[in-house]
Symmetry: C2
Subunit: 636 residues, 2 copies
């Protein structure tokens, strides 16, 4: 049931999200594919239609689903994968003790392995390429693309009267998403659908500028904290609140087993940073890393079903000195590990040198590249510096190399960036990386608020999402301080959901504003339950309300404790509307009948209209000169 | 002592902010004026200088100060006020029961009045004008202006080597703030120093685009919740965490007595919305409001020392119909009250009609106008509509009228505004209101996250602060749901401090980045205590760290529980730096000596440089065409 996770055994939170009803919508093609979403029913007396919202929570919030963590989720996509006829099953790579960090004779500290590991994973037949980009470029619309199109539409065809309004900085957001549109976006590399053929449990989703802005939640243990049960619980908890993908960033022991439990039970794409596990295999000594160990780790993770790999192939030998003069050096774990290796060996990064070999693996499983920003700035002082943009230039080069093999790519981004430097990041990335999806960590817009970095970064994330970033990697209140617990995970996810939605609104994404309008209307009409149910976190909204007005009657009260019954502006607004209509007129007509009303009203309105016309004229004439002319008059 | 407020008697939080030391800095003129700030000392082994930060917390955090809530604070400014020779003492207006909401024979529910009420308040002598704007326009630099100049500088003259970097959209932020600069900004109306001659306890501060971005915290009871002790405690608590001004928005009983306790103990300007108390005096029946009752309330509050009044004189009769078609009508309490009155009487707003009479009162006490945005949008759907901008146009008209009498003015602003509509608000306000300071409520960038509206609005506040807004009115997690408690107040304040600071950084405010750099350097060097002490909320930062690593040794550990000892990128970065220098060379030289190092490094570096030059060329040539050209190719 909701909110009772077990810590001693692996238990997860199930049950519907408050106020929501799981639905499965058939795609238009009649192919039988059904897309999971949820609908929020509003009070019947309101006459308002149900609101359909995008749903990442998977079967866990479906009362009709049977959840068995030991068995994993149903392999939703398996038939689609097999039907393409281009994969073969083979004997899995043998599991080694070092895969779980057990390097010496001491085998203690292990965890229970997932009981239903697939012994014969899939890979592409010889010579085949199973990436969605490959299919897209051959003109094929896959079931995954069809699923994505329906998922992104959210029933927007019901909004025929909606007038689009936004500033998308040149994006191409369609009124209505067709499977063909999805295919085209993937073919040109402007979007990806990350889904390894060995992760058939995942519900397909797209990451791209012309789709809804997505968010990622990070989980994973460290040598110092957490365990398998907590990590599986955090994964399910994070998608309940809206995480579109989840990265398992474990760096402690039992990395392989932990990941298996997570992937088998994840309805969302799972990403990893393979260099972490590789480093564990060499006992934490970066200099002892080799291409062979890394390659073996890629295969190991590919067979389990990881959907995207962060690869720090842009941390090149020549760039490392550029980081020496920084305030916070190299803040990326993977980036710092590769830097150490390069310096120790006086050689170019083996990730860069073997990039095409990595690509061969990616295309055999349909794993997407998340080209890592190992040289991202970790402080305001380091933002947009030479090290950062040198790496970006290389990521652009690698994007085009990967695309030659039809392998899907997204690009990771910063970091810590003050607001005035954010747009340059977006512009450079679009140009250099051929519009490949951008996937940023925030950025944090100031360094001075550890404990609140979900907010310092939410500010930057909303902006860079507006400018065109396709996925935002969340930051929790624990950033810079420690490993997040499940409460931190929830706060981070909800913060990033609202930032992504603010970006969708600003971009003019069709149907984004439907939810805001529904909630505001519920607020205005004192439908408190509807307001809570439409919000991103219904439980917290209700809890906050009930702190001062817990009685049941308060849920229909025409006030709350902020202002009380006499001062509620919503209530007074209602009275104003009612009062005027009682006179059997519209408000305007009502005003006109008063003794001085007509003249006064007309005069003030005319003055305002005139004033606004004048304002418009001035703006058109002066444009951006508005600021320039005024700015220098310091000594008037 | 810290954090033990008493609820049954009036008690407040005292004691230094962790890691900070109160200082009083003499102004340059040698006049003897000393400005309160605080300094954060860093670990001696670091060799780093102390960091001076702006301090709103008043004597409460000064261990040398004697705090006696019954007596109030010392009248810091009294000598300056008397020395100007333009004020006279007179017998205060008699307190009436209705001032405390006691309208009938039932006198119960009252609170203990402040024991040291001043029986003879000050006002301007006949024909005099005591506003800071009046002095400024006569070329006089007052002690208040001198105080402000020193306060805003924060010792920035020690940063001679600092290179300014920002985008201020045409603001005029000086390298160094002189008292003359302050005088000029006030004379031209671009900044205000809100300080009523009857509030001599206040430490002078400036609100204006060319100064540090300020924040306001709202406190006050309602008919449903809270009491005097809680409100005084919240005021002291809010300024501890950084509130620059505080508004007392009480709407319940005991408004007069509550306000007296607050003002006598407030080292920051206090604002109110007088219409609230006026409405209480007529038993909550808006139609029964009269100009006389309102005027009497203004005098009552002026004598107590309120520093700025929110006056909703822009809610004109002719604009009210425009709000009828909105999703959320009129969300401002004052705005909805005035709308109700106007419709009931079929007459123009008495605030508008009597504006010049109000101005006469303002100039006799030096109370600043906060021209209210009674028609601000309360939902995304209503943003930037006709009602909102009609009112803004009128606020512009009223600004110029007030300025004719040398009365200080700031302009209130929205509300709920999606990101792409924010800039228009700033541009219109600057143009129409003659660059009078803008004071916005957020804006909230989406409606869908009640419970998280400090964040939805923090996103908008940071942006509009960057564009030029001078003060940001905070929003707490309880927005739309109930009255905030002290925890909510703290979260709201810290959120708005970080948003204001992010704006200062983006504007290129000199010395803003000093704190970010100091904190990041401490982070990089594992000076955990310094990192906490430099942050906006040292206690929370330390608490979060200690949740997983509580041992004392962890405070100097070269890792935290996020990554553990092997994976800490900060630690590895340090090792990279040390490793290279052990070879007795810079990192660059070190790389060059390797077998293939020199060639590889040079080649990659040359490639990157070439690539970046190419990027720059493309940007210069195509400019904003970068997006346009790419955006329409939907069917390539």
């Amino acid at each position: 049931m909701a909110d009772i996770p077990a810590r001693t055994e692996i238990g997860v939170t199930t049950g519907p999200i408050r106020g929501s009803r799981k639905v499965h919508i058939a795609t238009k093609s009649g192919s039988g594919i059904r897309v999971a979403m949820r609908e929020i029913d509003l009070e019947p007396s309101s006459g308002e239609p149900s609101i359909r919202v995008y749903d990442t929570s998977g079967p866990y919030t479906d009362p009709a689903a049977q959840i068995d963590i030991m068995a994993g989720l149903l392999p939703l996509r398996r038939d689609w994968i097999m039907a393409r006829g281009d994969v073969e099953a083979y004997d899995a790579r043998a599991l080694k003790p070092e895969d779980n960090g057990q390097l010496g004779p001491d085998r203690s500290g292990g965890v229970r392995p997932f009981p239903n590991v697939i012994k014969q994973p899939l890979r592409a037949k010889a010579g085949a390429n199973v990436s969605q980009m490959h299919y897209a470029r051959k003109g094929i619309i896959t079931p995954e693309m069809e699923y994505v199109a329906e998922r992104e539409n959210l029933g927007r065809e019901r909004l025929a009267s909606y007038v689009r309004d936004g500033e998308s900085f040149g994006a191409s957001i369609p009124d209505y998403v067709t499977p063909e549109f999805v295919r085209n976006e993937i073919a040109r590399g402007r979007a990806i659908i990350p889904n390894n053929i060995n992760h058939p449990e995942s519900e397909p989703m797209a990451i791209g500028r012309n789709f809804l802005v997505k968010i990622n939640a990070n989980i994973g243990n460290s040598a110092v904290a957490s365990n398998v049960a907590s990590e599986v619980d955090k994964m399910v908890w994070s998608i309940r609140w809206g995480a579109d993908t989840v990265m398992d960033l474990s760096t402690g022991r039992n990395i392989h087993d932990t990941r298996e439990w997570i992937i088998r039970n994840a309805p969302v794409p799972i990403g990893t940073v393979p260099i972490y596990q590789a480093l564990e295999k060499v006992g934490g000594v970066a200099e002892d890393l080799t291409w062979e160990i890394f390659r073996d780790t890629l295969i190991e993770q590919a067979e389990q079903g990881v959907d995207y790999f962060t690869i720090h192939a842009g941390v090149r030998l020549g760039y490392i000195p550029m980081a020496a003069k920084r305030v916070t050096g190299i803040v990326s774990r993977g980036g710092s590990i590769m830097a150490k290796w390069c310096l120790a060996h006086h050689k170019e990064s083996f990730l860069y040198d073997h990039f095409d070999d990595i690509t061969e693996i990616m295309k055999a499983y349909d794993i997407a590249y998340s080209l890592g920003d190992g040289l991202r700035p970790g402080s305001i002082a380091d933002a947009n510096d030479e090290a950062q943009f040198s790496e970006l230039y290389t990521l652009g080069e690698l994007t085009h190399r990967a695309w030659k093999s039809d392998v899907q790519v997204m690009i990771e981004g910063p970091g810590h960036v003050p607001m005035h430097k954010i747009k340059e990041n977006m512009e450079k990335q679009l140009e250099v990386c051929g519009e490949a999806p951008f996937y940023t960590l925030g950025p944090l817009t100031t360094d001075i608020a550890p404990g609140y970095d979900h907010i310092t970064s939410g500010i930057g994330a909303a902006q860079i999402g507006w400018y065109g970033t396709a996925m935002l990697c969340y930051v929790t209140p624990k950033e810079h301080l420690g490993l997040p617990d499940r409460d931190d995970v929830k706060v981070g996810v909800v913060t990033y959901k609202l930032a992504a939605h603010a970006a969708d609104l600003a971009k003019g994404h069709p149907a984004a504003q439907v939810r805001d309008n529904a909630l505001s209307k519920a607020r205005f009409e004192f439908r408190w339950r509807d307001q809570f149910n439409l919000s991103l976190d219904p439980e917290t909204a209700e809890q906050y309300h009930d702190q001062t007005l817990p009685a049941e009657g308060a849920k229909t009260a025409h006030f709350c404790s902020m202002c009380g019954p006499k001062f509620c502006s919503m209530q007074i607004s209602q009275e104003v509307r009612d009062f005027a209509s009682k006179q059997n007129q519209g408000v305007e007509g009502f005003i006109a009948t008063g003794p001085t009303g007509a003249e006064t009203a007309a005069a003030s309105k005319a003055a305002a209209l005139k004033g606004m016309e004048e304002m418009s004229r001035v703006f058109k004439e002066t444009g951006s000169e508005l600021y320039m002319g005024m700015g220098d008059r310091e000594h008037d």
